[in-house]
Amino acid sequence: MRFAGRLTLVAASFLFAAPQARAETVKIGAAFSLTGNAAAYGAQQKAGVLLAAEEVNKSGMLPGITLEVVVEDDGTNPQQGIAVFDRFINRDKVSAIIGPTLSTLAEAADPRAQEQKTPVVAVSNTKPNAITTIGDYIWRVSLTEAQVIPSATRAARAKLGFKTAGLLYGNDDAFTKAGFDVMKSALEKEGVQILGIQTFATKDRDFNAQLTALKGLKPDVLFVSALVEQAGSIAVQARQLGYTGPMLGGNGFNSTKFIQLAGPAAEGVLVGTAWNRASQDPLNQKFIAAMKARGTDPDQFAAQAYTGVLVVAEAVKQAGMKGGRDDVKAGLAKVKDLPTPLGAFSFLPNRDGDHAAAVQVVKGGKFEILQ
């Protein structure tokens, strides 16, 4: 009787184990800012990861494995971000975490995942020389400004063929100074001659003197590293002074607030971006069409979040269809030239992402990809 009972138990477990081996579920926790200041980004990111998981499951890319994405709201609040991470790690037992939306939250929550050896894939954190420095379980899909500017400089030079440049930057702010350093080295690398460099302070609103001096040197292009508060005034004053050449701005220019402040003076201003929306790559076109079919006009945040799920799926595949936390971590290291809407994606040795960046130009009061 006892023997028979045991036998049925073994048989039963065998019966249940077999189908389970064929349809293992790999859980991914996605922590995004669905409420709070960064809520506009979070909505795009959520739509991106859900679409990616559905497509991966349908495509048969991972035979025998079902991806399940659990989306939670970090509230644009570090405490809530940490709580969500703890839940993912200890209760949901996820194989990897995607997010959180903002760098400040990542710096608070990512160390939890590092301690518990849970891989994190950042899809929107752009703070340079940070995030991936937290530890070897932290990976990043989103390009930092230090990566976007050189690529944008190369692309803009290929289109516009400038040979000389003038530089203007805020020298009392860490972000604008860092942006300037990257611009300067990118220009030098491209063999562009720097005719003049001018600076300003964060609270300055009059840039006429600096712009007149730069304009007098007759550069082919003007590179500007400024926060959005100054970016609008700089563009307006440059145009008022009669500067008609192209301007390329750092991340401070990469917002609709800049276009609102500069008005018509924003026209023709160039800004680097991680996602080339106009790329004719079929994968990119398919992504845009699928997002629109779900009622979301995708932006860079959606494309990067979508790519984040593809990267985790590829890692599972590279690990030999295994979804353990260390399997995913080992697999991430092997992701190379993965086709994504962002282009061919690889990781650098420091776990930051690497793919081609594009250049946007302001046209008719909107950002368009420079073709």
Partner: protein, 292 residues
């Protein structure tokens, strides 16, 4: 070269307009009103609201914002200075209380309007440039320089030739003697604050228009420069503030053009230092005989 002269005159006229208000109150009361920059900021917002939300023409919004600035000046006097008047340390305590009031007004601005930079709607002022021998001057720049010169002339006339001006000068000379002669000192001081803050308001609106930039912290851009201007010109001296305003504007612009923008503040404040070594009371300042 020509363009940089225009840039310098333009920047200088904003410094001068702002500093005139500072120096008027100092001349009358021997007190620095550090809430001046908050009035500057709030009145730029008042004009922005009138133009942006009520769709008034700038020609109507400007005088209204200036009037609002004047009234706000009377509030500044009543809240920050009047309760302390007559105390032996009222110069220092008034300075401190005006810093407190500036902080409060800035916080009010932040609460009401948020931290984001705003701009006047497109086309509030015509965005045309005038070519003058290789230099481009926009219409708003011409208007600002003209208003600054006009206001300086009007203020000089008011102080030298009118009854109110004579009373203001009498109070500046000696509040006690003025009171004995039948002058209502509190009312004259309120009038000085009204004029001073109206000037600050005018500077704020024009600054916001000229640079397409209205933000709760915009006053910081001119606060220190305004102080430098009145020290350079001589504390309490109207012509001094006007001349020093233009001088500082030109000096800054030419430092940027000839030496590079990193040296701008070093040169500007270095020259300020040298002037004070040679002339401790500033360019137009009188030695403090009044105290004797």
């Amino acid at each position: 070269m020509g363009q940089q002269i225009v840039n310098g005159l333009f920047l200088g006229s904003i410094y001068a307009l702002f500093a005139l208000g500072y120096t008027l109150v100092f001349g009358v009361l021997d007190i620095l009103n550090l809430a001046h920059q908050a009035v500057f900021m709030l009145c730029a917002y008042v004009a922005l609201l009138l133009v942006g939300s009520l769709h008034l023409h700038m020609f109507a919004a400007f005088p209204l914002a200036v009037l609002a600035g004047g009234l706000l000046g009377i509030v500044v006097d009543r809240v920050a200075f009047k309760p302390l008047r007559g105390r032996s340390d009222s110069n220092i305590s008034g300075l401190i209380s005006s810093i407190a009031l500036a902080t409060i007004l800035e916080a009010v601005g932040l609460q009401l309007f948020g931290p984001d930079v705003e701009r006047f709607p497109l086309g509030t002022v015509p965005d045309r440039g005038i070519q003058i021998g290789g230099a481009v001057v926009s219409e708003i720049q011409v208007v600002i320089i003209a208003i600054a010169l006009l206001v300086m002339g009007a203020l000089t006339f008011l102080l030298q030739r009118t009854r109110l001006g004579r009373r203001i000068r009498a109070v500046a000379e000696s509040p006690l003697a003025a009171r004995i002669l039948g002058v209502n000192v509190d009312r004259i001081i309120a009038a000085a604050f009204f004029l001073s803050s109206a000037l600050g308001a005018a500077a704020g609106v024009l600054f916001g228009l000229a640079f397409n930039n209205v933000a709760p912290d915009m006053g910081r851009a001119v606060e220190l420069k305004g102080l430098a201007v009145i020290i350079l010109g001589g504390m309490g001296s109207m012509p001094g503030a006007a001349v020093a305003g233009f001088a500082l504007g030109l000096l800054e612009v030419f430092t940027v053009a000839k030496l590079g923008s990193s040296y701008r503040d070093a040169i500007a404040f270095g020259v300020l230092f040298l002037v004070l070594v040679v002339r401790p009371h500033g360019l137009f300042g009188k030695a403090a005989l009044r105290e004797a």
